[in-house]
C-alpha cells in the first residue's frame, strides 16, 4: 500500500511536468499545425540560462523568471526566423526542420557549457515529506511543481477564454484567412503562440531540473513523453494535454515502480500506438475524424 501511494504521488508530480510540456506542444500545434520536436532542447537551453544566473548568485526566483523570459524570446525568434518559411508547406519539412533545431541547440549547449552533469538547486526542500513517522513519496518541491503547473494552466485558460488577445490568437489558429480579413495581425499571433509555448516549456524544464542534475541530454526523454502526452489529449485540446500528461506520468511511474525502469519508453510507445490506432483524435478531442 505504501509503495502504491508513493508511486502514485511520484507519478502525479511527473505527470504535472509532462502536462506542462504537452501544453507547450499543444499551443504550437493549435497555432501553426506543427509539432515542435525542438521543444525539449529549447527548454534545456533556458534551464542552462537559469543555471548560469544562479551560479553568479542571482536569487532562484529571479533566475526562474529570467529563464521564462528567455524562453519567450527564443520561441518568438525561432518562429520568425526558422519556422515562418515552412508554415503551410508539407508537414515533413517542418518535422525535419525542428529536428535539425533540436540537434543544433543540443550541440551548441554542449559546446558552451560542456557535457558534464551539474547540480541544479531547488527553491524548497527535495526530501520526502514526513507524516507522523513515515515519509510519503512526495517532496515539498513536488508539491510546488504541481502548484506551478496548475497556475500556468489557469493563466492560459484566462488568456484564451477571457481576453481579447486570446480571442485573436484563437481566431488566427482557427482560420488565418478570415482573421486577416477581420484585421487580426495573424503573423504576430503565431509568433506570440510560439513564444508562449516556449515560455511554458521553459517552466517545465526548470521544474524537471530542480534539485536534480542537468546535462545537455537531460531533457531528451521529454521529446517523446511530451509528444505522447499531447497526442493522448488529441494535440488540439489544452485540457486534454494536461490529462494526457497525468495519465502518462502515472502509467510510467507504475511501470518503473513495479515492472522495470528500462521498459518505460516501450510502454509509452505502446500507449502511443494504442491511442493513435483506436482513437486518433485523442481521448478528449471533440473534433471529427482526422488523418493521423
Amino acid at each position: 500500500m505504501q509503495q502504491f501511494l508513493d508511486t502514485t504521488l511520484g507519478g502525479l508530480v511527473l505527470g504535472a511536468v509532462y502536462a506542462a510540456f504537452a501544453l507547450a506542444l499543444c499551443l504550437i500545434w493549435r497555432s501553426t499545425r506543427i509539432v515542435n520536436f525542438a521543444q525539449a532542447a529549447m527548454a534545456m537551453v533556458t534551464t542552462y540560462i537559469a543555471l548560469s544566473l544562479i551560479n553568479v548568485d542571482v536569487p532562484y526566483w529571479v533566475a526562474f523568471l529570467a529563464a521564462i523570459a528567455a524562453g519567450f524570446m527564443l520561441g518568438a525568434l525561432v518562429e520568425r526566423l526558422i519556422i515562418r518559411p515552412v508554415e503551410g508547406k508539407a508537414d515533413l519539412n517542418a518535422v525535419i526542420l525542428t529536428l535539425g533545431l533540436f540537434m543544433v541547440l543540443h550541440g551548441l549547449t554542449a559546446l558552451v557549457f560542456g557535457v558534464q552533469h551539474r547540480g541544479f538547486p531547488a527553491p524548497v526542500s527535495t526530501s520526502a515529506i514526513e507524516v507522523g513517522d513515515t515519509s510519503i513519496g512526495i517532496t515539498p518541491f513536488g508539491v510546488l511543481t504541481i502548484v506551478i503547473v496548475a497556475v500556468v494552466m489557469a493563466g492560459l485558460v484566462v488568456l484564451f477564454r477571457f481576453t481579447d488577445l486570446g480571442l485573436r490568437m484563437r481566431a488566427s489558429a482557427f482560420n488565418g484567412e478570415v482573421s486577416r480579413l477581420l484585421g487580426v495581425r495573424v503573423g504576430r499571433m503565431l509568433t506570440l503562440g510560439w513564444a508562449l509555448a516556449a515560455a511554458v516549456g521553459a517552466v517545465a524544464g526548470l521544474l524537471i531540473a530542480g534539485g536534480d542534475l542537468v546535462n545537455p541530454a537531460f531533457m531528451d526523454p521529454f521529446v517523446i513523453y511530451g509528444f505522447i502526452a499531447a497526442v493522448l489529449g488529441g494535440l488540439d485540446s489544452p485540457i486534454g494535454s494536461v490529462i494526457g500528461g497525468l495519465i502518462l506520468g502515472l502509467s510510467l511511474s507504475y511501470v518503473t515502480g513495479y515492472v522495470g525502469e528500462h521498459l518505460a519508453p516501450l510502454v509509452a510507445l505502446g500507449i502511443l500506438m494504442l491511442v493513435l490506432l483506436v482513437r486518433p483524435s485523442g481521448l478528449f478531442a471533440a473534433a471529427a475524424a482526422r488523418r493521423v
Binding site: 550541440g107 560542456g114 509528444f227 505522447i228 509509452a268 510507445l269 500506438m273 493513435l276
Partner: protein
C-alpha cells in the same frame, strides 16, 4: 560490330543488367581504392559502407513511399544485437559465420519491420515521426533490461581474422590490389560488396512495379487506392525493405565497432541518418551514398577543426551534431531537394537553356 550492338541493347534497356554492370565496375574501382588506402581510410570506408546501406533503405522509405522514420537507429540496434548474438554462439571464425550473422540480422529486422510497419502505415507526418522517435528511444534501453544483452557495457563482437579467410579470397585480393588482406581491409571489402548488392536490389526495386506503387502512394494516396493499390500493403513492404537494410547495416556496424552497446544507438544516430538522406536528396541512392560519405568523414574532420581552435576533446566532439543539425535546417530552408535533386534541376534547366538557344 552488329553483334556488339545487339548486345548493347539489353544492357541499356534492362535495368537489372545495367545496374549489375555499373555495380560490378563500381565494385572493382572501390576494391582498387580500398586496397591502396591506409588503415585509417579503410576504416572510414567500411563505416561509409554501413551508413550508406542504412541511408539507402531510409531514403527509399522516405523519398519513395513518403514515410518518415526516425527509428532507423533502433532498427540498426536490433540488427547489431542479432548479429552479435549469432557471432557469439558460432565464434565468428569463418566467413560463413559472418554471413550467417548478417542473414539473421536481416531476418530479425524484417520481422521487426513488419511489426512496426503495420501500425506505422496508418500514420503520417508528425505522428509517424513521434512514434518512430519513441521507438528509437525505447529499443536500445531494452539492452539494460535483459542480462543476455549485456547491459550498459554491451557485448564484445568476435570478427574473423584475415588469415582464416578462404585462400581464394586472399589470392583474389592480392591479384587486384597487390596488398595482403587484413582485418580492416576485409571489413571494408565486405561492407562495400554488400553495399553494392544492396543498392542493386534497391535500384531495381524502385524501378519495378513495387517502386512505382510506392511513388503513387506517396504522391496521392486516394488516386493510388482508386487505381487498385493496397495502400497499407505498399507501405508495410516499404518499411520492411527499409528495416532489412537497417538490419544489415547494424550487423556490419557491430563488426566494425567490435562492441555492441546501447550507448551507440542514441536518438542522434537516427537523426544523423536522416541528415544524410536529406542532404543527399530524399529518394536518391546516389544522394544516400554522398550523405554516408559525409557521415563517415565529417566527424573526424570536425573534431580536428574544433580542437585546432582550442576546444577540449569532449567539446570538439559536439561540433559534428551541430553541423548535422545545421545541414538539416539549411537544406530544408534553401534546397529541399538535397544535393542530387538540386543538381538534377540545375542540369535540366541548363540543358533546357541550350536547346532553346539552338531553336532560336
Amino acid at each position: 560490330m552488329e553483334r556488339l550492338r545487339s548486345l548493347a541493347g539489353p544492357v541499356r534497356s534492362v535495368p537489372l543488367v545495367r545496374h549489375l554492370l555499373v555495380a560490378l565496375i563500381a565494385f572493382l574501382v572501390v576494391v582498387a581504392i580500398i586496397g591502396s588506402s591506409s588503415q585509417y581510410l579503410q576504416t572510414r570506408y567500411a563505416e561509409m559502407a554501413f551508413f550508406a546501406i542504412a541511408a539507402g533503405g531510409l531514403t527509399l522509405l522516405t523519398g519513395l513511399s513518403g514515410q518518415l522514420s526516425l527509428g532507423h537507429g533502433a532498427l540498426m540496434a536490433v540488427g547489431a544485437y542479432a548479429a552479435t548474438l549469432v557471432l557469439e554462439r558460432t565464434g565468428g571464425e569463418t566467413l560463413a559465420d559472418v554471413f550467417l550473422a548478417l542473414l539473421v540480422a536481416i531476418a530479425v529486422c524484417a520481422v521487426v519491420g513488419v511489426i512496426v510497419g503495420v501500425p506505422a502505415a496508418r500514420l503520417h507526418g508528425p505522428y509517424i515521426a513521434g512514434a518512430t522517435l519513441t521507438l528509437a528511444v525505447a529499443v536500445p534501453r531494452l539492452a539494460n533490461q535483459w542480462d543476455f544483452l549485456g547491459g550498459e557495457q554491451g557485448l564484445q563482437v568476435p570478427v574473423p581474422r584475415a588469415a582464416e579467410l578462404p585462400v581464394w579470397i586472399q589470392d583474389l585480393v592480392w591479384f587486384f590490389t597487390a596488398a595482403e588482406i587484413d582485418q580492416y581491409s576485409f571489413l571494408a571489402y565486405l561492407g562495400w560488396g554488400l553495399l553494392v548488392l544492396a543498392f542493386v536490389a534497391l535500384a531495381n526495386l524502385s524501378r519495378s512495379r513495387v517502386g512505382r506503387r510506392w511513388r503513387a502512394v506517396r504522391d496521392d494516396d486516394v488516386s493510388a487506392e482508386l487505381a487498385g493499390i493496397h495502400l497499407g500493403r505498399a507501405r508495410v513492404v516499404a518499411f520492411t525493405v527499409s528495416a532489412m537494410c537497417a538490419g544489415l547495416a547494424g550487423g556490419l556496424m557491430a563488426m566494425n565497432v567490435r562492441l555492441t552497446a546501447p550507448g551507440a544507438f542514441t536518438i542522434t544516430l537516427s537523426l544523423t541518418l536522416l541528415a544524410a538522406v536529406v542532404l543527399g536528396g530524399l529518394g536518391s541512392l546516389t544522394g544516400a551514398l554522398i550523405g554516408a560519405g559525409v557521415l563517415a568523414f565529417l566527424p573526424h574532420f570536425a573534431t580536428d577543426l574544433g580542437e585546432s581552435v582550442g576546444l577540449s576533446a569532449t567539446q570538439a566532439a559536439e561540433v559534428t551534431p551541430v553541423v548535422y543539425g545545421l545541414v538539416l535546417m539549411l537544406v530544408i530552408l534553401l534546397a529541399p531537394a538535397g544535393i542530387v535533386g538540386s543538381l538534377r534541376t540545375f542540369l535540366a534547366r541548363s540543358s533546357l537553356g541550350s536547346t532553346k538557344e539552338k531553336t532560336t
